[in-house]
């Protein structure tokens, strides 16, 4: 069966090209909105989000993640769709996108639509096309599922506002953590034009919340909140800088999520760093771990890193790293300590901390019940006491704990199996790492002696 679209290109071809072009966007979540079906139109939303499949790189497929077009007037050096690349170009019509979304959604392939776009003609024209697509999807197809759209920097605020009333989540890509990096790699984009729509959406959400208090049925503006993403490893920023940027985005722009995307070298360009070990996946992983510490554990960026220690530890996760450098706060007494202290223990997450606090009201907890509750005692045992006793005789010493925490280092190096370590990512690093570090070196790295 042939479905020929305009220009002799089948929908299949277009879907191939435009999903291929969209795959480097990472913000593919469907969470944050709880909306029951209305009994007539297709679709509802679940706050936890639903991932419908997982692709060969292990990332979830939750939304139909496509570009409206991969034509682009910009020439950002890191981007596959830049003007100067000779690649097949395609553009969906709004109707094609709606048809695909509805048919995929009906079969439970996807949770909704994620629509981004290259800049065709100018930002306003592009944003208008996006708006028209979402409008048709919501009003003509009566789609009630999740919609995530990109706000195009430089587009008319009025267009962004109209789109916001139809979308569940909007995002503006920060692209690179610093204005300087942006200037070098994305000469057509400016920090100001990126932050302006971000601020606008933030204000829109706040105003809308006030309206909703007064009028329960007022239309919702970006109910699932705003997110952004930045590319990690294309420019020489340190983890400390990145965490500071993320923190201020959470605080000043009240973002729901900041996504980090390990830089994948898709273009040959002298301004881009060479990545002999592949994309910096371990670094991305550490940043996400730290991001969770910021959002759910009450940590601050300057607690985790500092000017002197601008990068995360390869061997220890950020929480372990923090804990071994703040041993004066440990051990924590499980049966009495406040929630904030319990949740700062490595091996105890938000859920187990909540369970501990609830369960200890009626019974005194010992290590056996902690294990059953879901605490990872392998990591936690160095930092906790139950009724004044530690699990084993352990020393409260940085070296000792680090040695034990990194004992099963083979498992922890899953990201570094190809010899990649986070040090190699920095452009201006003067240390040259030769052979893989030995076990002794690992210990030194972990305790900060190398």
């Amino acid at each position: 069966m042939e479905y020929l679209a305009a220009g002799g290109m089948t929908v299949m071809d277009k879907l191939g090209i435009l999903s291929d072009a969209a795959k480097y966007d990472v913000a593919c979540t469907s969470s944050g909105v709880d909306r029951k079906g209305n009994g007539r139109d297709m679709g509802n939303c679940v706050a936890a989000g639903i991932c419908h499949s997982f692709s060969a790189d292990g990332r979830c497929i939750s939304l139909l993640k496509i570009l409206l077009t991969n034509e682009c007037i910009y020439d950002c050096k890191y981007c596959l769709n830049r003007r100067s690349n000779d690649i097949p170009r395609a553009t969906f019509t709004p109707e094609e996108i709606c048809e695909l979304t509805m048919q995929f959604y009906r079969r439970n392939y996807i949770e909704g639509l994620f629509l981004s776009s290259g800049i065709i003609q100018n930002p306003n024209y592009t944003m208008e096309l996006i708006y028209r697509t979402i409008w048709i999807l919501r009003n003509r197809c009566r789609f009630n599922g999740y919609v995530h759209v990109k706000a195009i920097p430089g587009a008319d605020p009025r267009l962004i506002q109209l789109t916001g009333y139809l979308a569940d989540r909007m995002s503006v890509n920060l692209e690179l953590p610093t204005a300087e990096g942006l200037k070098n790699l994305a000469p057509n984009k400016h920090r100001k034009t990126i932050l302006a729509p971000m601020r606008q959406i933030q204000n829109g959400i706040t105003e809308n919340k006030n309206e909703l208090v007064l009028y329960r049925n007022a239309p919702r503006f970006v109910g699932g909140g705003q997110s952004t993403q930045m590319i990690i490893g294309a420019t020489p920023e340190s983890d400390f800088q990145i965490m500071n940027v993320a923190e201020s985005l959470y605080q000043k722009f009240s973002l729901k999520r900041v996504f980090y995307s390990a830089f994948v070298r898709v273009n040959e360009d002298k301004a881009l760093p060479a990545l002999p070990g592949g994309p910096p996946l371990l670094r991305e992983h550490r940043l996400y771990q730290a991001d969770w510490l910021l959002r759910f554990y009450g940590f601050k960026a300057e607690e985790l890193l500092s000017e002197k220690r601008p990068f995360f530890n390869v061997m220890l996760d950020p929480k372990e790293d923090w804990a071994v450098r703040h041993l004066e706060q440990f051990p924590v007494e499980i049966n009495r300590a406040p929630y904030e202290m319990i949740v700062s223990v490595p091996g105890i997450g938000v859920k187990s901390a909540m369970r501990i606090v609830n369960a200890r009201r009626t019974a005194s907890l010992d290590f056996v019940s902690l294990k059953k509750i879901g605490v990872v005692l392998k990591r936690a045992l160095y930092f906790i006491t139950c009724n004044g006793k530690m699990m084993y005789r352990t020393k409260l010493e940085e070296d000792y704990i680090v040695r034990n925490l990194t004992a099963d280092v083979k498992n922890r190096q899953q990201f570094a199996s190809d010899g990649m370590s986070y040090r190699q990512l920095s452009l201006f690093d003067d240390t040259v790492l030769g052979a893989n570090p030995t076990a002794a070196d690992n210990g030194k790295v972990a305790s900060g002696q190398l």
Binding site: S55, Q103, R106
Partner: protein, 263 residues
Amino acid sequence: MTEEENIVLLCEDSLEGIFTGIYEAYALKKPHDGIFLQIMGEGDMLLFATYRTVAPDGVKTEKVIRTLRSRFGEKDYFALCLAASSAAPDKAQAIYKTVVWGLSGKCRGSILDHLADDNVRRTLELSRSAGNELHRMQEFLRFSELEGGVLYAVIGPRDNVLPMLTVHFADRLPMENFVICDENRRLYAIHPAGKEWFLMSGQDTPLLAGDEGLKMTAEEEYYQELFRHFCHKISIEGRKNLKLQQNMLPLRFRNYMVEFVEK
């Protein structure tokens, strides 16, 4: 041996069966220590015990449900239902003892917070694992369009989550005719467009979409192919990680998913 002999109540493997069992256990008016609940045909036999079979009873189940709802609240009641849908053989005993504990008067707040108690913890474990199975079914179920426009899906869940699953899809696709079939239990959930859904049990081995008698529409194959193409294209070669993929999406689900079935 205690003076009184232990009593084991054998109940059917269903919500109704377990709740009737709990009702009967209370109706015995004996100390709860000497009463055990077992799913028929599961678990080890006790030597010094009398066995009684409990037939599921709608009225008694209603009474138990009413009590649980009013005493424990909707959230904990739903958690107990999830636990009852689990495939674990010891679920009846764990739920029964949790209910006894919750109604004993010693319990403040949500029963499922009292994790120091082994039965409560086990119930929460079962409930959570069945909840995960339910969530995965919401994720990985795939509908195919049959000729005539009916959506049809076959699933093979570990736990009996079909009723909860159908609630989700009935809310999501109110104007669709769809059928979900649990291959392992030969249960069918049938949802006529715009009407209440219902469950049916069948005898024969369920058919897969595309088998003889269940012809798919021509469009269906086209959309399946489109989705396969999409899944293939969306993956980044430089980040390939099949192990992670398998952690997130275990192989046992893939037989039912269009993007993993070889064509």
